[in-house]
């Protein structure tokens, strides 16, 4: 089953996918991933012209033609976007289709010159990794080395441009030159990859690995490493999957794997994934709810009600009942409140200290707003409601000093210590 052709194909896919993944990082960070899509369409006329001029499927002629038109496409998008009121996305779509159309026209000329070349177009779009030759793989390898050397050599300017071009310019880097270099390298990768994996896949390869990698790390080298590995896995996996049927295009299978992994990343990545963010939001919300409940209990305590029912609490402050019940349960397990008789609860010693802290912060802030910032008394409650959950111990200390350890707040309520 494992023949030498298969190994050749898989190695080729792995190399091109990983290089595309790495270059995609720059495109992603510069928010220019769709330009990759444009370039991969715009290379078509180059392929056709290369074919017309050389008369054969000489890979180097096709490569030269592709590079030329791919780079021309990027320039066109840039000029249209900068020199007219058309938005960048309009420019991208326009250049994509017009170049592609031009390529199709040229190819139909080619195919009328010599029969049976239209098949080349189908491979161009979907890729047929099975037709990879040893020469192709060598070309991939050379390109990969070129890209890696360039990345190492120009690491700093490339990174600065990707994150903040204006800053790079201010630092004295010739950003336009380096941008051109990034564009050329991207076009190079796209052009050599197209024959093997097709337009659809090239676009996906520039986007998906980089997008996923971004969710796992904040460091550029790590991001590139992850994107590269991710590219290899998808390339090899897609290559193997496309063997399930005869005449299966490779590109779409790789895209499926890429999309699958990207979705998993977007959902489950630590810190930046959907669920991680949800969890953080929830825990923030829970903390605020707990502090609010403690505050209610303290306020009721001030009017002599130490142990209270749920209804009494809801009368004091409007709250969603289910949220209140959940919060009470959580506070009980944290031993901040305890049951006291039939369906009544009261603060424990721990809870009392915490409740006092929240109420104190609220009232200190109100006092600060009226005394120092000259707010009207009826305008202060709202912001105090929010900020009481955010003030740190350090800030509290500063407030106390600033206000000289006051006894009452603007509403003449006692500030608890």
């Amino acid at each position: 089953m494992i023949s030498s052709t298969l190994i050749l194909v898989l190695v080729g896919l792995a190399v091109i996918s990983s290089v595309a993944g790495v270059m995609g990082c720059y495109a992603f960070l510069r928010r220019r991933t769709l330009i990759g899509d444009a370039v991969s369409h715009a290379v078509l006329p180059g392929v056709a012209v290369g074919f017309m001029l050389s008369g054969t499927k000489d890979p180097f002629a096709l490569l030269a033609g592709g590079l030329f038109f791919g780079y021309l496409a990027i320039l066109s998008i840039d000029v249209i976007h900068r020199k007219s009121k058309l938005s960048e996305d309009t420019a991208i779509a326009l250049v994509t289709t017009v170049y592609f159309a031009l390529g199709s026209v040229l190819l139909s000329v080619v195919s009328s010159m010599e029969n049976g070349q239209q098949a080349g177009l189908k491979n161009f779009l979907f890729g047929k990794a099975a037709t990879l030759t040893e020469l192709d793989v060598w070309v991939f390898a050379v390109a990969a080395i070129l890209v890696i050397v360039a990345i190492i050599f120009f690491y700093k300017p490339f990174m600065l441009i990707s994150f903040n071009k204006d800053f790079a310019t201010a630092q004295g880097w010739k950003t336009n030159n380096y941008e051109t270099l990034i564009s050329l390298l991207t076009v190079l990768v796209i052009t050599i990859g197209l024959q093997a994996v097709g337009v659809v896949l090239m676009s996906a390869l520039l986007i998906a690995p980089a997008a996923s990698a971004r969710y796992w790390t904040n460091s550029l080298p790590k991001m590139m490493l992850i994107a590269g590995i991710f590219g290899i896995i998808s390339g090899v996996g897609g290559g193997l999957l496309s063997l399930v049927g005869e005449d299966m295009p490779t590109g779409p299978w790789v895209v499926m794997i890429l999309f699958f992994f990207t979705m998993i990343t977007l959902l489950f990545a630590p810190k930046k994934g959907y669920f991680a963010i949800q969890k953080r939001t929830n825990s923030n919300e829970r903390k605020i709810n707990e502090e609010n409940v403690l505050k209610i209990l303290h306020q009721l305590g001030e009017i002599g009600k130490d142990s209270v029912t749920i209804t009494e609490m809801l009368d004091k402050r409007r709250m969603d009942t289910t949220v209140l019940m959940k919060t009470i349960k959580a506070l009980k397990s944290e031993r901040q409140i305890e049951e006291s008789g039939a369906k009544k609860i009261k603060l424990t010693e721990v809870g009392r200290v915490e409740a006092m802290r929240v109420v104190r912060l609220h009232r200190l802030w109100e006092l600060y707003l009226t005394q120092q910032l000259k707010f009207k008394e009826d305008h202060i409650h709202g912001t105090a409601e929010t900020i009481e959950h955010l003030i740190t111990d350090e800030l509290e200390e500063a407030l106390l000093k600033e206000l000289d350890y006051p006894d009452v707040d603007p509403h003449a309520k006692k500030i608890p210590y």
Binding site: F28, R31, R32, T33, L34, G36, D37, H41, K83, S84, K85, L86, S87, E88, D89, T90, I92, A93, L94, T96, T97, V98, F100, A101, L102, S104, V105, S108, V109, S112, Q118, L121, K122, L125, F126, V200, L201, S203, A204, L206, I207, A208, A210, A211, G245, D247, M248, P249, G251, P252, W253, V255, M256, F259, T262, L266, L267, K272, Y274, I277
Partner: protein
């Protein structure tokens, strides 16, 4: 030299160009062209699935399947962008490459023999062959199947754009202001996207999924260079579209090359010339650039 079949083909191309021009103006103004591009790729699985169910390229199934996937595309993009916090360009790119790949795989799975649907047909279409499906009743020629589906679609788009002009207009320029005027931005958004999907699908047999974007973008973009007035943009876009189609068709016949790519190439050329004259403008007033966001 003017053969009846040419007139039929040309009519098909014109109907596509007109429908696309009308809708494309809104896409260009709303900076949503790439979403249109995405839709034109990602209706593919919808077409294939509907085709497998209905086994007719022009059946109602296909239209519904395509419209569903078109709207689904915008929903997925929105989900990735807003809920999963992926940056916008990547959200668009990821969505359409995935759906398109899915479509291609579905074709590869099911296209063995019994289904008459192949990748090239979907991607490029063959405008020159649309005349083959003639509708002849009692010996009289009434048109072709493509015309029979595209004409109602065009009329629908036309009526919709005229009737809903205000809604589209507000939604294109200031959706917040539209909201205060009681105009439902969501409705107009999905109406536009739904129509883009349907027109894309109806066109794909004749011009293919990639080039239909050219019909959607290039004439409206050219018109936008020439005018800032929405109505004028529509009229200009229709005119330019018509010119491109007729010129492209004639040239393609003359030089015996594929028709729809030639039309788009001509469109690109017209855009390029307009751009040169208007924008680089040889020293005249520079256009005011509206800041993005």
């Amino acid at each position: 030299m003017w053969h009846l079949n040419d007139i039929l083909n040309l009519t098909t191309a014109l109907l596509i160009a007109w429908s696309c021009s009308l809708l494309g103006v809104f896409l260009v103004l709303r900076k949503m062209v790439m979403v249109g591009d995405a839709i034109s790729h990602s209706v593919l699985p919808g077409i294939v699935i509907a085709y497998l169910v209905g086994s007719q390229t022009q059946s109602g199934f296909v239209m519904i399947g395509a419209a569903v996937f078109g709207v689904l595309t915008t929903i997925i993009i929105d989900f990735l962008y807003r809920k999963l916090k992926l940056q916008e360009d990547a959200s668009i790119g990821l969505t359409f490459t995935w759906l398109f790949a899915l479509g291609v795989l579905l074709i590869s799975f099911f296209a063995n023999g019994n289904v008459d649907l192949d990748q090239e047909c979907v991607l490029f279409g063959e405008l020159g062959l649309t005349f083959l499906d003639k509708i002849i009743i009692n010996g009289r020629l009434y048109g072709t199947k493509s015309i029979a589906t595209l004409l109602p679609a065009f009329l629908f788009v036309l009526v919709f754009v005229i009737r809903g002009f205000k809604g589209f207009q507000l939604n294109s320029f200031q959706s917040e202001f539209g909201l205060t005027k009681g105009i439902n931005a969501g409705f107009w958004h999905f109406a536009l996207m739904g129509m883009v999907s349907v027109v894309t699908v109806l066109s794909f047999e004749s011009v293919g999924a990639i080039l239909v974007v050219g019909f959607l973008v290039v004439p409206p973009a050219t018109a936008y260079l020439l005018s800032n007035n929405l109505k004028k943009m529509h009229l200009l876009s229709l005119l330019i579209g018509t010119f491109n189609v007729v010129t492209g068709y004639l040239l393609a016949l003359e030089f015996n090359v594929s028709i729809s790519p030639t039309i788009i190439t001509i469109s690109g050329l017209v855009f390029f010339l307009t751009f040169l004259v208007k924008t680089l403008n040889f020293g005249k007033i520079k256009p005011i650039k509206t800041p993005v966001k």
